[in-house]
Amino acid sequence: MKRIVIHEEHCIGCRLCEVHCLVQHSRSRDIIKAFRTERDTVLPRVHVEESGPISFALQCRQCVEPVCIEACISGAMHRDEITGAVVCDEAKCVGCWMCIMVCPAGSIQQNMTGGGASGRHIASKCDLCYGAEVPACVANCPNEALTYEEVPEAAPQE
Amino acid sequence: MAWCAIENRYGDDKVSSACGLFGYMDTSGALHAGTRIIDAICNMQERGNGLGSGYAAYGLYPEFSEHYAFHVMCRDDAARQELDGYLRRHFAVVHDEPIPHRHVQGILDPPVVWRYFLLPLSAQMVGRSEQDYIVHQVMTINATESAFVVSSGKNMGIFKGVGHPEQIAEFYQVQDYAGYLWTAHNRFPTNTPGWWGGAHPFGLLDWSVVHNGEISSYGINRRYIEMHGYRCTMRTDTEVIAYAADLVMRRHGLSAEMGSAVFAPPLWSEINALPAGEQRAMRLIRQTYGQLLMNGPFAIIVARNGEMLGLCDRIHLRPMVAAIKDSVLYVSSERAAIHLVEPQPDQTWTPLGGEPVIARLGERPRVSGSAALCVTATDKEPSYA
């Protein structure tokens, strides 16, 4: 399957990946509305790690044997049969945070507003922009520090 | 003077012209009367517009074969007198006479045409070779407005002027001359009313050039030639080709085959596919003589004593047909013209762009290059008896 490959040496720390991830996962998909009116209900699912001049944008690594699926008590966390991505079915998620507890990359976050009105607690993670040809973070990285590539399956890391 | 211009009155950088050309050479050295070439070139009348045509013949003056035969045109008698004095100051004049001619309907106000048989005065050559001296003198004369040297080789001569080929043939009585190598030209200039000096063939020393097409690289070809001491007074591609041939094939001593590679070299991709040794030579030819690459459409027949070279540009933008009959090699713009004068050639073919067709005195003519490799592609001509 295709994965997002991180090129740390090219990350310029602009965080446009975060901006566009947020927009992609907002209801309006309109950048200004997303920030002005939905800001509290939607989280970017990529986060730029930064230390001195080094930085990189980190999102779910799409583990071969995902510990988050293993730990999920609700069955929300699953591998999508079509895209192969590890995704959280937000309708099933109960916000128990087991996945957050086990994800070694720290790339799952608490969303305490659960998409707004419902106010539900749900786990928020990268879904490779479900169905998109190229995820928003990759498409909008101005320096190609993120690429979307077919990567051979290797040994699981966990 | 309006009609009988012998100088390029517009001073255009380049005179474009579309043309018909024809040349043939009997490699056995047998002499042929001018009738056949007149027939051949007149057959291609559509290729000209009456603004210039001419003939070159080799083996013309066996009695003066060691002398430079100058065919000259002068604006008037006074100019002829002036030229006469100049030539006698710089040459030993062995013989001179008017070139026989008759009045022809449609040719108005022709120049004074004369011929001299000369030898250079060695005292005047001051370090120049004999041939370079001739070149220098021709250029000096041609730089004036009153006289023009049409041809300056040995045992050859050029007859040309403003008019249709049959008019010029009649004017000069070309059918009365005999030569083993003839070339002819029928001109269609676009941008000048035509002038006598600008007609083809162009001659220098024993070179004669007939040319069809327009060379897009003219500007750099001319600058390169001028860098080597030639003065381009005619503003024609043909002149540049003659000088280029003189530089490369006389002064630098390259063979006609090598000269062809200079004027119409293979593409780099073709060079890269050659065996190492040839590749190196060909690459160096292009590197060294790139400024002489003749780009754009052309078909030319370059002749000198004992050798005739037919060549068209490397992507074959101008027509050329060649044929062999016994010891005779024909090159023409159109196949029909050959058939008119030689109904049953042994072989007829269309040379590839950049592939020279060469006839040499004493060598049996051969089908050139790729066609020779691919005999089945050459037509064995049906008889038109």
């Binding site: 994965r3 991180i6 230390s51 510990v67 086990v102 070694p104 990359a105 720290g106 | -």
Partner: protein
């Protein structure tokens, strides 16, 4: 006995028979793992419970009224069909015969197997108190328990519950019932709640949250007697003599592994069934996994029962894969848990509550903001962590514990507000970032 050996390594042309006893995370893990590589094995899942696969940890959310019953389903209704599994539900296994390679159920059915996975989990601990046998007294581990509590509470309009146990189960029950609007008294024998997972500070923070929410937290105390009237619960008597009137009593003390069958079958059993790195028991062809198994714990570096959902699933997957010939080694479990009280989450991984002696402990606390971090290191490696409040990067610590990463030199970074992978050793960062062998 000798003549049955051949069954264990069936010839290639025979379809292997696999029996899984139990129908929870372990069974699902096993089925999903084995079906990844093998479509032919004949798989039977036998469960004493009548229900489709449901999520036990979700019961508290159900009890709290946060979710409807359908969401308890851990896998879809088509799980068995899709994985070509024969379910045998509502029929407890009563005997395992290792020699005959068979199990027998309460209904008298016998199932032969080439590989057997015992995933019987655990049963709630109910101390033998006098007066227990009345309406209104429940355990809280199974769906039936939750259904019964809800049914009872609805019917009797229960107002005041006593929850026995301040561990994970007790707290979850408490939190759930709080959300149902009940008054609650929680009785814990130990001096602190969640004492097995949390240290004193974290425990106090969680306890305070409960108190603030109106829960009566009774520590170092226990119920000694259950009072009833007309067969209905009316209250309890505590060890210190206090009496508490209540109309609901929930046991949330813990579970005990259901290892009886295995013991009877002659397998090696300590607290639970002893298994190796591939979840094999002492008897060839028989595996055990989940809450019933005593498997390797990589933090304490010994076998023990760590009865948590992720372990159950992973061990099941290990066993499942191994049963169809995949050489897979379980890396070992780590005790961990997450609990939420009144919206404040707490996470404990490994030995987060280890004492300061013999360990390096880093801690940072902001009780007002309900934030707390405690890192426990041994020999330069993280062995435990407790997070209260901000838990967003908890997995990063879990990864460090699991992978036994030497974090000497980056200790300061561990307490950062948001731990950055860039503050961890380069090699480890690249390992995590590259995921499945992707170049950084």
């Amino acid at each position: 006995m000798e003549n049955t050996r051949s069954v264990q390594t069936p010839a290639l042309d025979q379809t292997p028979r696999i029996v899984i006893v139990g129908n929870s995370a372990t069974a699902v893990g096993a089925v999903e793992a084995l079906r990844k590589v093998d479509q032919s094995a004949e798989v039977t899942v036998i469960s004493a419970e009548p229900h489709m696969i449901y999520s036990r940890p979700m019961l508290s959310h159900y009890l709290a009224g946060e979710i409807e019953r359908p969401r308890l389903a851990y896998r879809g209704a088509d799980f068995y069909a899709r994985h070509n599994v024969r379910p045998v539900l509502d029929d407890a296994v009563v005997r395992i015969d290792p020699q005959a390679h068979s199990v027998t159920t309460a209904s008298g059915q016998t199932f032969g197997w080439d590989k057997l996975l015992i995933a019987t989990g655990g049963s709630p601990i109910i101390p033998p108190l006098p007066g227990l046998d009345v309406e209104g007294v429940y355990a809280f581990t199974r769906l039936d328990d939750a259904l019964a509590i809800l049914e009872y509470a609805r019917k009797r309009e229960a107002r005041h519950a006593v929850v026995i146990g301040g561990g994970m189960i007790g707290i979850k029950a408490t939190d759930a019932l709080l959300k149902r609007g009940l008054r609650i008294s929680m009785v814990e024998l130990a001096p602190a709640i969640l004492a097995r997972s949390l240290d004193e500070v974290a425990s106090r923070m969680m306890s305070n949250l409960l108190v603030d929410a109106g829960v009566e937290v009774l520590l170092e105390n226990t119920v000694t007697e259950v009072r009833s009237s007309e067969g209905r619960l009316t209250g309890v008597v505590l060890r210190d003599g206090r009496q508490i009137a209540c109309d609901l009593l929930v046991f949330g003390i813990g579970v005990r592994p259901n290892a009886g069958l295995a013991r009877e079958a002659g397998l090696k059993v300590n607290q639970g069934i002893v298994v190796d790195h591939a979840m094999r028991t002492s008897h060839e062809g028989i595996y055990a996994a989940g809450d019933v198994a005593e498997a390797y714990d990589l933090v304490v570096d010994m076998n023990r029962i760590v009865a948590i959902w992720p372990n159950a699933y992973r061990q099941g997957a290990t066993a499942g894969a191994h049963m169809v010939g995949v050489e897979r080694v379980d890396p070992g479990g780590v005790a961990m848990n997450t609990v939420e009280v009144c919206g404040v989450p707490a996470i404990s991984v490994g030995n987060g509550n280890a004492p300061e002696e013999g360990h390096q402990v880093l801690a940072e606390c902001d009780e007002r903001a309900h934030r707390y971090k405690r890192m426990v290191l041994r020999d330069g490696r993280l062995v435990g962590v407790i997070l209260v409040g901000d838990i967003n990067r908890a997995g990063v610590y879990t990864g460090l514990i699991r992978n036994r990463i030497d974090v000497s030199g980056c200790e300061d970074a561990l307490l950062n507000e948001r731990i950055s992978l860039l503050s961890l050793p380069d090699q480890y960062r690249k390992h995590v970032v590259t995921g499945a062998g992707i170049e950084v």
